[in-house]
Symmetry: D2
Amino acid sequence: MPLTADQDAEIAELRSNPQPTLRAVSPGMEARLYTAHPVLDHGFVRVVDYMGDDAAICQAARVSYGRGTKAVSNDEGLIRYLMRHWHSTPFEMCEVKLHVKLPVFVARQWIRHRTANVNEYSARYSILDREFYIPRAQDLAAQSTVNNQGRGEALTGEEAQRVLEYLKGDAARAYDHYEEMIGQEGQQGLARELARMNLPANIYTQWYWKVDLHNLFHFLRLRADAHAQYEIRVYADLICEMVKDWVPFAYKAFEDYRLGGATLSAGALDCIRRMVNGEEVTQETSGMSKGEWREFEGVLKA
Amino acid sequence: MPLTADQDAEIAELRSNPQPTLRAVSPGMEARLYTAHPVLDHGFVRVVDYMGDDAAICQAARVSYGRGTKAVSNDEGLIRYLMRHWHSTPFEMCEVKLHVKLPVFVARQWIRHRTANVNEYSARYSILDREFYIPRAQDLAAQSTVNNQGRGEALTGEEAQRVLEYLKGDAARAYDHYEEMIGQEGQQGLARELARMNLPANIYTQWYWKVDLHNLFHFLRLRADAHAQYEIRVYADLICEMVKDWVPFAYKAFEDYRLGGATLSAGALDCIRRMVNGEEVTQETSGMSKGEWREFEGVLKA
Amino acid sequence: MPLTADQDAEIAELRSNPQPTLRAVSPGMEARLYTAHPVLDHGFVRVVDYMGDDAAICQAARVSYGRGTKAVSNDEGLIRYLMRHWHSTPFEMCEVKLHVKLPVFVARQWIRHRTANVNEYSARYSILDREFYIPRAQDLAAQSTVNNQGRGEALTGEEAQRVLEYLKGDAARAYDHYEEMIGQEGQQGLARELARMNLPANIYTQWYWKVDLHNLFHFLRLRADAHAQYEIRVYADLICEMVKDWVPFAYKAFEDYRLGGATLSAGALDCIRRMVNGEEVTQETSGMSKGEWREFEGVLKA
Amino acid sequence: MPLTADQDAEIAELRSNPQPTLRAVSPGMEARLYTAHPVLDHGFVRVVDYMGDDAAICQAARVSYGRGTKAVSNDEGLIRYLMRHWHSTPFEMCEVKLHVKLPVFVARQWIRHRTANVNEYSARYSILDREFYIPRAQDLAAQSTVNNQGRGEALTGEEAQRVLEYLKGDAARAYDHYEEMIGQEGQQGLARELARMNLPANIYTQWYWKVDLHNLFHFLRLRADAHAQYEIRVYADLICEMVKDWVPFAYKAFEDYRLGGATLSAGALDCIRRMVNGEEVTQETSGMSKGEWREFEGVLKA
């Protein structure tokens, strides 16, 4: 995702000009501000702005007048308590604004998270760039044989070769025709809002995306998960790193109680009680379906 | 959009089996339920369910125990009052669930309306059909020369011909390759979640979309508007017809106060006061920019 | 909560007039429609309308054209799968509208659930009734000695007596003055929007509340929980009964995976793995804080 | 609303400690940060944090990499265009967090704006202060004689005197009993979550409230309006001043197109066209109801 010289200059300009503020400042986020962190072949995530820090979460939870005289260790304990007990509103008091460049098919999953603010680059108004996501060899995965909604091993040999040729060739031809259709030399030129319909779902788009920390955690729990599609997971993984730098206590609690935790059903809890008491429990005696039991075993062995 | 025989049979089955209910019933919606109303070349809108009617809006506004003994004329007056004064919550008390088939580039605009519930056909899990939106000759519009975000006259002659060939040819080839890539005969077969990235934005998708009447009106005001892209406006226009059958008083008020109304700025109101008093006002003496003045003239002459 | 004769008549009228519909019908909800189910001393919950049933959840998940030919047992399995994997959008396809009468301090907790539509009886516009929540003897609980946000044993003897006298006396006097202040005989009469400020938080208000099933489950998980305040829990418990009648499969899945389930942290899962392997784990060796450990023991022993 | 010495010290501490940041900084907001701006007799609004400025709105609208080299005058024009055409998402890219102290009956109106994040002081967990809103003589208004939902002239003489005595006396007694009921000396002490029900709606509560600029404008349009209740309008008016300091271009556009503008119906626009053409239009020939005509005349004469 090499930026243009102009874009690099704009970013350098923004990073060269610190100003005093009385607001809460997060050093970890200041270090990241504006820089484009690469994802996939042409994508990136840039932190454009943020509001709040770990202390701000506690301040809101206490509806306090200042940062308080409580020890920092109390803040961490409070944050863990809030996370454990699903007190979500204090986490909503932090906000982050990202600039994201991503393939359209990833954007279509992403936008399903409705509690966020979005400004997308308009292909009605502007002309899209010639940039398409083409998977690396190791990411060119076969359909999963056990899960309709998943992928298996990477394709190999001639099949992999052919797939890459199709993806590259079709994207190139579609874009050539897109350019030709909107061109105005010697012709009227098709409306941009129509011409874009010829472009495939691996073309890159970009948007400003603003979200509060609670809803961001919800996004990350679903999208940094092993079941999420790889191409959105890499964005989620990078954003996890950013959040860790921004609100370390909150991120740690999120990691323990959400990312690394698991929700167990009444039936699963009953099995655990029996197992802890020394009973041998099998799928047959568990009361669970095969699918549930397989997932339950996954949790026990992880 | 010819449905399959199975789909037609399913719809006929649903329409053949009335059951008694104690809920509010809207005859206009009952007449439409389940039937696929065509839009564009392969799209449709089907009403799958609805909740409430004009009386339900009034009932909620009055927080009443029954349908009330007030005359129906009072209901209409109340609904007009609520609409005029932006009392939105009573309109939220009606809900509709639609099944919509639409091109992906239209779906991408549509989904920006966040206060709605959506279940989209999954191209991670399932295989998309070979159906693409190809504009009719008269809809193959050139880029507007006055508005970056709009379209002008229809293309003509050879240019129109070439555009149609590109759109059809690229879609056909992209779909052939999609099918070939996911095929599992004699090869592993690319994961569906990856193969879909080769498909262009004029392929059709479908979803269940559920929304309350207030938010539906907001959608319709923006999308049944002359500035909306034609391909989403035809959906909005059809839904307007449905809403008219469903809640006639509310729709009439919406038509008067929103669709046919206009919001004027403080400056525009001042000009109107001067003009009503016989003063000649021009752009130069209006205090408005040229763009604003042009829009203002449009309102005055409409 | 004796309704007036007029209100009873309105409800009887509504229940006496079934009409044919082609929509999905839930017999369990039809049986409940409009009837006021009592809660606390003067409150109630009435189902005013509903949309969808268990089959509608599956229909949306499959984006299907009809009710499908799949066996009902498949529907239950699909619903459990959706609940287990946090696929929330199909549950959003069901909607319910309730008329609720409740004390103001309960309403203030309730309204914190933002993803719902609300129409409240207006005390700016109308005059509130003289109805106050006065707890029964057994609900007149002392402050918890272990939890700042909880209650302990019921008060007894003279103390209980005195509390009841205060609650009743202050409410009666506040309402007498409210009536006197807004009275217009021989005086101007204070504006209703001001006079209401004299009324205590145990006065009853009422509203129409409309919510989708996913967000209703979220509400019920938090408010039918043992940590919720008793006075809102009784509403949640009643609504649970209604939902069970409405969408039995979805409710059963909710009961197993949410109400009766538990979310365990990474640390708690690790302890469980050790315990299942025969290791003795104590708070000291668990890596958990005392509070977490106490909650963890609660889950294991429940 | 005299703060305690501790609170004043906390605020002074926060204001004494500027730190460098690379984020967008709004000098107008920095000047206001943390300071408690008084409203009513004991209330206040404090800006606790903010995100973005006028330039950030344009940056998001352009999905740009930096602050751009466009002249500031272009920014103002773009902001006016966005406001006029209801492009709301760029305004959502600014966010503000306020700490507000307000009477409970005002909080109950305020919370109806759902698209915001709220953390309220908990009366389950904590003890409320003895602070009640008591209107000034000139705000002790009679019920409006023309509008069920409004107020007229101020009460006078003995009636005003009596109302004040009731409000003060009932509040004092309710609080005395509240304190006595939760007291634990020589008795068990009623649970806080129950005792609070004795407190009237003019007691003060406080919360952290965080909202984006688009939704804040929506709040201000409704609550800074002449039809809003005085006691919430004074909060809205103060917040208007803050927004003017924060994002001057956006506020100016809001003032012109929303606060000072008006939405006219199709019928009203038709009347205006006739009037501009020299026709005499009366209510009888206007096609409007009396209520609509009165409002229309108000717009024309304002």
